[in-house]
Amino acid sequence: MTITGYADLHCHPMSHLGFGGPRQGGLGFFWGKPTDPIDQALPCCKVAHAPLGRGGVVPSLTEKEQPNYDGYDTFVSWPRHSTVIHQQMYKDCVERAFNSGLKLIVASAVNNEMLADLYDNGYPVDSTDGTSIAAQIAGMKAFAAQCSAWMQIVTTPAEARAAIGAGKLAVVLAIEVDSVCGGAMRRDGDLDPAKTDAIVQKYFDMGVRLINPLHLVDNALGGTAIYDDRFNLSNHYLFAKHQNTAAEPWWYDAASVVGGGDLADVRMLLGANRGNDALINIYGKGYPTYMKSLGLVGHANTRTMTAAGKAFVAAMMKRGMLVDVEHMSSHTLDEAMTIAEDRTYPLVSSHTGFRGIAVPRTKTGPNDPTWVPGCANEGMRSDSQIKRLVKLGSIIGIGGHAGLVQELKIDSSKGWARGYHYARSLGVERIAIGTDMNGFPTQAGPRFFRDPLTGELKHAEATDTIRPLKYGSDLVPIVNKLLTRTALGKQSYDYNVNGLAHYGLLPDFTLDVALQLTAPDDLGDFFQSAEALIQVWETCEQLAVP
């Protein structure tokens, strides 16, 4: 039976258990739980996030918060579409999305040791990826058990079909951390390829079925996609923490993009985003002179997949696991696709954007400082990468944060719709969303603002002519239920002006996207994405070696 409904290929329901988890005195870098009564799960975060509080200044450097830091029950400050360190996947929100067409989620354990260690003024905490993974996998299992009436963790595609058939949300456990093989495993040669099979087996035994071998830093499996100086600090920090006497470089081993190939359209330059200057200065280690000249085109990672990385991917494929190529450097991805092509093994690109519609960076000079938000970076897919992935039968998840694209000035669902249209033009049929909810990226913002004088909705984007959502008269796609406003505590959310503030607004988001697409670019493929992921998984399972 073909499943109708969509899949979120990438989200982090258990982020509160990452980043060192809850500390003594109620502190926590990532604030708010998805479970428990709402007053206990999402209380005011001032104790943990105020810059003069015990948590230190890191939260305020990570996110600009409202002065009152509230949470329950007004929810004035958060959740909102621009939050990165507050819970956006409270159980009621997830359930609302599920009741409105969401059929499958990939729940990924996530972590960042540097932020965890910086938080609470460096108070010692076990922030390692291994501890974080174990806590989040256990937490997700407990979450599913608590919500067993409508949620189920699945470990095979058959279980996924059965769970969805039984009227439940299928949850695939996943991992996306910087050091999936351990903190000391930082470079080619650090990890014996023969040991990767046992590592993959360990995660498989925990119920994990999807892994990102790379996240935001290089590791013993390969090179990361370069797109943010802040993650370069993490790259350096993990060497300082785990391999203090290792030979340099501890920073990204980046090179300026020259010539053609997959990297020809990369325009992101390391060291050009002045918004990162404060963090780089506070980190205090100097910063490589990547910017040799203002005339540079773009930066990309010179590192590729290591022998251990190839063995790791092969070990995943041997077990029929879903290999998520997101965050791989271009060279690493090329190797992953080559391995997959040898056995026609479909891959997952779970939360990506497209260089073909990225914001152009055309000027150079002091008045156009070589940094343009949304400009093409290595983490986005090139056209040729997309075509190779499609040929493998892979599934592509467009990032919920992929909204800032060319000709648009506002990060909103319009950008996602543009990405969907673009992906289809490249022949992508297995196409989903990868919200990255509770992750670092912000979510799609609103398309409207309310005129303070008249109270009328006005388009935020001058070129936008698409109408707003009409609560009480529009129907939610697929389920054909009347769209109503959702609420947390005293806060009633209007997607038109709030954007994708939390997971419960996914139905509103999908309708807002649908309004912007016309045949043949309707959301038909998207609303089959749960089926598409299961089909990908079934193919993987068939190719597994018993």
Partner: protein, 304 residues
Amino acid sequence: MRTTRGALIVSVVSVLATIAGTAFADPPLDLAEVDIATLDFGAGALGTPDTPLGDAEHASAEVSAGLTGAHAELLGLSARIFTFRASARPSLLTTNVSGTLADLDAWMIGARYPDLSHCLAFVSGRCDEDTGYLGFGGSVLEVAGDTDSGQVGMRFIEGDAIASVTPAFGGDWRKFRLLPRLGGSLDMVVHVPEETHDLIGRITAGFDALATGGSVRFAPTFRYRPSMTDPAGDFAIEATLSVMTRTHWEAWHNRDALTIGLELAYSYDSDPSHAFGPDRVGGANNSMVARLVVSPTIFTVGPP
């Protein structure tokens, strides 16, 4: 024989390097330092080898207390705002009070990109790691006076050009640096009982240096301050060495900085009637001080 000795030296150096490599490995969280409100408690001794005048004492024990309003130590920038210290020296029957409104050890100039756009070190302004060989420093309104001598010195302003032997925006600058400096200051020494004062322009030449081993910092400084009008007859030589280690305690946060260390200072004033500073014996040419210092910070921005 020479070969054996050479091998022995190589072995010893190798062992020491290994030990140092282990013991002095960088802590993973070694962030730029910004300390707000640092108290300063010291105990030590001050004295002079000069023949004292009359029955005055050569030396005295000393206890001191002080405050630094804010201190920032970033790549390419080392500065303090509002420092104050009062030192009681009972055997000398005097209390020395000193303070500085703003003290800029070094503010280095780098380049945002090697081919364009010069920039100054600042929290929100990053310069590239290969740059930062020149900068400037100095102080604004430095005051020091003794209760017994009735001599109060003021350095209205000092401005120095500073060079850095290594790039100030390179990762090692906060651990190892040598900063030669050359500049000048405008000083005034007030003789309170006589109700007279001398206005003196001085040239400043010297260096600041820093070497770090693990959590221990060695910071020698040297200044030669000849008068612009009488450089041979009126000059001061100042040399200091501080050996400090930085740990943490609980004040505002549970990880605020606590600095503990030893300060040594020597100064020579060719004309004691024009001498001033926190570590002078009134009327002496040579002054020496040694003190242990404990400096708890009330609020450290980030980990210590």
